[in-house]
Amino acid sequence: MSIQYYIILCLTLFSIGVVGVLTRRNAIIVFMCIELMLNAVNLLLVAFSKMYHGAALQSAANTTAGIDAQIFVFFIMVVAAAEVSVGLAIIVMMYRNTHSVDINFLNRLKN
C-alpha cells in the first residue's frame, strides 16, 4: 500500500485530535483527543519505519535497517500509558473537588 494513505490517515486522526482538544470542554474527551494525536504520530512513525525497512530489504537481505523506529514506538506506548494513569488521576481528583470535569471550571488557577 502506498505511504500516502498512511500519511492521510495520520493527518486525519491528528486533525480530529486537534479539533477535539480545541472545541470540547469535557476533560475526559480532551484527554482522549490528546491520546488520539499521540497515536496518530505513532502510526506515522511505524508507517515510515516499515517503508524504509522495505526499501532496505531490496538491496540487502536480513538487514535490520529501519526497524528501530518500530521498537521506539513501544517505548512511547509504555510512557504514554504511564502518562494516561497520571492524567486520569488528575481528572479524578478534579471531579472530587468540583463535581465536574468541565475544563472551564479550572479558571480558578487564574489568580
Binding site: V21, L22, I103, N104, L106, N107, K110, N111
Partner: protein, 637 residues
C-alpha cells in the same frame, strides 16, 4: 646625568607633595624654606645641566615608554639642549626669587593656606619644567596642561571671592581653547609622521614627507595653542584678569612660566615655521596687533597690576613679531630679558601694594619715592629696561626684534616703534604717578608706609641687576659684541634669516627707536609727575579705558548665544524630547503589560488555542525561513 636631569623636575614635585600633604603639620617658616629650597636645588641642577650642554651639546635621556603600541611609540624622554637649558635657568632662577619674595609677601595667610600657596607654586614650576624638558610634543602637552591647571589654582587662590574664581575659570577656559589647537597639531603629526619626538619630527626628512598644506596646518594649529597660553589676540583677555591672584603669582605667570610656553614651542618648531610663509605672516601680524592693542589699553589703566598685565601682553606680541619675522633667537632673548624686568616690575609692584595695604589704584599713590627707596630704584630700572633705553637689557632684545622686522617689512618696524613709544609712555606714566609728586592716599596709609623686608627687597635687587646687565648676553656686532645668545642657539635654530642690513641702517633704526622712546618717556614724566590721570574725558580715552570693549564683545557674541543655546537645550530639548523618550518608554511598557495581562483569562481552552496557534506559527517560520528572508530582503530594497 640622567639622575641630575630627572631631579631638576623632581625637586619641585617633592616640594609640592611635602607642602601639600603636610600643610597642617609644618610651620610657615618650614614651608617657605622647603618650597624655596627645592626650587633652588632645581636651579643648581639646571646650572650643572647647562654647563654639560655647553661642553658636550644636547643631552637626551630616556626614562620609560609613555605609550608603546605597534603603530606608535611615545617615550618619556627629557632633552636638555641649548634652548631648554636656557629656559631651565630662567624658570628655576626667577622661580627661586619669586618663592623667596612670596615667603614674606604672603605672611598674612594662615599656615595651611600658606602651604597650599607654596604647593601650587611648586607644582607650577614642576609643570613648566616638564613642558620645557620633554623630548616630544606629548610630554610638552602634559606640562602645558599642568601650567594651565596651576594658573587656575593660583589665580583662584583666594577662593572665597567670586570675581577671583571667575577670573580663574576664564583663564582656564581660554587656555583650553588654545589647547585644542595644540592637541590637533599633535594628532596631525602622529597621523602624518607616526612620531612626536623632536629628534624625528624636526628633521629635513620629515619635512620632505609633509606637504606644504600639512606644514601650514600644523604650524597654525600650534600657534592657536600658543595664542591661548601666551595671551595673543583673540585669546589674550584672560591674562589681565589673572591679576586676581597674589602678586608674586602674576610675576610667575608673566615672567618665568606659562606665557613663555608659546614662545618656547614655536622656537622649538622653528624649522616648520620657516617653511610656511603663511604661518609666519599670521604669527607676525597677530603679534604686532596684540602688541599695539595691549599697549593702547595699558595707557589708560589705573590699576598698577593691570598696566603691567597689558604691558606683558604687549611684550609677548613683540616676541611673536620676532618669531614671525624669523628672529627666533631675538624672541628667546626678549623672553629672557622680559623675564627679568617683568618679574622685577611685578615684584616691585607687589612691594608697593604691600606697603599701601592692598591698595592697587595708582591715583591714590604718588610720592612713594622717598618712602620706598629700594622699591623705587628697582622699579625705575625695570621701567627703563622695558622702555628700551640703552644699555639696559630690554633695549638689546627689542632692538634685535625690530631690526629683524625691518629686514622683513618696514611696516612691521614702524608699528613696532609706535608700540615701543607707547610702552615707554605707559611705563613712565605708571612710574611717575606711583613714585613722583605728592602722596594721594589716606592718612592711615601714609603713616604705615614702610619699605619691605629683606626677603622681598633681595629678589628685587638681584632682578634689577639682571635687568640692567642682562642685555650683555646678546650685544649685537654693531655695538662691539658678538651676540653670545644667537651663537648659543645656533644648533636649535636651523635657518635664521641673516640680517642683511648695513651698519648705517642699523644705526639709524636703533637711534630712531631710542629717540622716540625717550621722547615718550619724558612726556609721560612731565605729564604725570605732578598729578594722576583723571577720569577719561574723550571718547577714545573711554574706549581705551574700557579695554576696547573686547570683553563685552566676547560676552555678547559668544557667551550670551551659548547661554541661550544651553537654555534652549535645557528647557525645550531636555524637557520635551529626552524626557519624552524616557517617560514614553515607561508608559509603553505599562500599557503593553496591561493589554497582555488580559490574555491570562484562566480559560484552559484559550491557552490550548494559543499553544496550537503558536506551534503552527513556529512551523510556518521553520519551514519558510528562506521565503521570509527573501520577503524581508525585497522589503528593504
Amino acid at each position: 646625568m640622567k639622575i641630575i636631569i630627572g631631579f631638576i623636575v623632581l625637586w619641585p614635585l617633592v616640594g609640592f607633595l611635602l607642602n601639600g600633604l603636610g600643610r597642617n603639620i609644618w610651620s610657615k617658616k618650614t614651608i617657605a624654606t622647603q618650597a624655596t629650597g627645592y626650587i633652588f636645588a632645581s636651579f643648581v641642577f639646571s646650572l650643572i645641566a647647562f654647563w654639560n650642554v655647553q661642553e658636550q651639546g644636547a643631552i637626551v635621556v630616556h626614562y620609560f615608554d609613555f605609550i608603546n603600541t605597534s603603530t606608535i611609540k611615545i617615550p618619556f624622554d627629557f632633552r636638555v639642549d641649548a634652548l631648554s637649558s636656557l629656559f631651565l635657568l630662567v624658570i628655576t632662577g626667577v622661580g627661586t626669587l619669586i618663592h623667596l619674595y612670596s615667603s614674606a609677601y604672603m605672611h598674612e595667610e594662615s599656615a595651611p593656606h600658606y602651604a597650599r600657596y607654596f604647593a601650587y607654586l611648586n607644582l607650577f614650576i614642576f609643570s613648566m619644567l616638564l613642558l620645557v624638558l620633554g623630548d616630544n610634543y606629548v610630554i610638552m602637552f602634559i606640562g602645558w596642561e599642568g601650567v594651565g591647571l596651576c594658573s587656575y589654582l593660583l589665580i583662584g587662590y583666594w577662593f572665597t571671592n567670586t570675581t577671583y574664581n571667575n577670573a580663574a575659570k576664564k583663564a582656564f577656559i581660554m587656555n583650553r581653547i588654545g589647547d585644542l589647537g595644540f592637541l590637533l597639531a599633535i594628532f596631525w603629526l602622529i597621523v602624518k609622521l607616526g612620531t612626536v619626538s623632536y629628534g624625528e619630527v624636526l628633521t629635513a626628512e620629515s619635512l620632505a614627507k609633509l606637504s606644504s598644506t600639512d606644514i601650514t596646518a600644523i604650524t597654525l594649529l600650534l600657534f592657536v595653542g600658543a595664542m591661548g597660553k601666551s595671551a595673543q589676540i583673540p585669546l589674550y583677555t584672560w591674562l589681565p584678569d589673572a591679576m586676581a591672584g597674589p602678586t608674586p603669582v602674576s610675576a610667575l605667570i608673566h615672567a618665568a612660566t606659562m606665557v613663555t610656553a608659546g614662545i618656547y614651542m614655536i622656537t622649538r618648531t622653528n624649522i616648520f615655521y620657516t617653511h610656511s610663509e603663511i604661518a609666519q605672516t599670521v604669527v607676525a601680524i597677530i603679534g604686532i596687533s596684540t602688541a599695539l592693542l595691549a599697549a593702547t589699553i595699558a595707557i589708560k589703566q589705573n590699576d598698577i597690576k593691570k598696566v603691567l598685565a597689558y604691558s606683558t601682553v604687549s611684550q609677548l606680541g613683540y616676541m611673536f613679531l620676532g618669531l614671525g619675522v624669523g628672529a627666533y633667537s631675538g624672541a628667546v632673548f626678549h623672553v629672557i630679558t622680559h623675564a627679568f624686568f617683568k618679574a622685577l616690575l611685578f615684584l616691585a609692584a607687589g612691594s608697593v601694594i604691600h606697603a599701601m595695604h592692598h591698595e592697587q589704584d595708582i591715583r591714590k599713590m604718588g610720592g612713594l619715592k622717598s618712602k620706598l627707596p629700594i622699591t623705587h630704584l628697582t622699579f625705575l630700572i625695570g621701567c627703563i629696561a622695558i622702555a628700551g633705553v640703552p644699555p639696559f637689557s630690554g633695549f638689546f632684545s627689542k632692538d634685535e626684534i625690530l631690526a629683524a622686522a625691518y629686514a622683513k617689512n618696514p611696516i612691521y618696524w614702524f608699528l613696532g616703534v609706535v608700540g615701543a613709544a607707547m610702552t615707554a609712555f605707559y611705563m613712565f606714566r605708571l612710574y611717575a604717578t606711583t613714585f613722583l609728586g605728592q602722596f594721594r592716599g589716606t592718612e592711615a596709609q601714609a603713616s604705615h608706609l614702610h619699605e619691605s623686608p629683606i626677603s622681598m627687597t633681595l629678589p628685587l635687587i638681584i632682578l634689577a641687576v639682571l635687568s640692567a646687565v642682562g642685555g650683555a648676553m646678546g650685544v649685537p656686532e654693531i655695538l662691539g659684541g658678538h651676540h653670545w645668545l644667537s651663537h648659543h642657539l645656533s644648533s636649535i635654530i636651523g635657518a635664521e634669516h641673516a640680517l642683511h642690513l648695513s651698519h648705517t641702517t642699523e644705526w639709524i633704526l636703533m637711534g630712531t627707536s631710542v629717540a622716540i622712546a625717550l621722547v615718550a618717556l619724558l612726556i609721560a614724566i612731565g605729564k604725570y609727575s605732578k598729578q594722576a590721570d583723571g577720569e577719561p574725558q574723550t571718547a577714545l580715552g573711554k574706549f581705551l579705558y574700557n579695554k576696547w570693549l573686547v570683553d563685552e564683545l566676547y560676552e555678547n557674541a559668544i557667551v550670551q548665544p551659548l547661554n541661550r543655546l544651553a537654555g534652549f537645550l535645557k528647557d525645550v530639548v531636555e524637557k520635551n524630547v529626552i524626557d519624552g523618550v524616557v517617560n514614553g518608554t515607561g508608559k509603553l511598557v505599562q500599557y503593553g503589560a496591561r493589554q497582555t495581562r488580559l490574555m491570562q483569562s484562566g480559560q484552559v481552552g484559550y491557552y490550548i488555542l494559543f499553544m496550537v496557534l503558536s506551534i503552527v506559527l513556529l512551523f510556518l517560520i521553520w519551514f519558510n525561513d528562506l521565503a521570509i528572508t527573501r520577503f524581508l530582503h525585497n522589503l528593504i530594497q
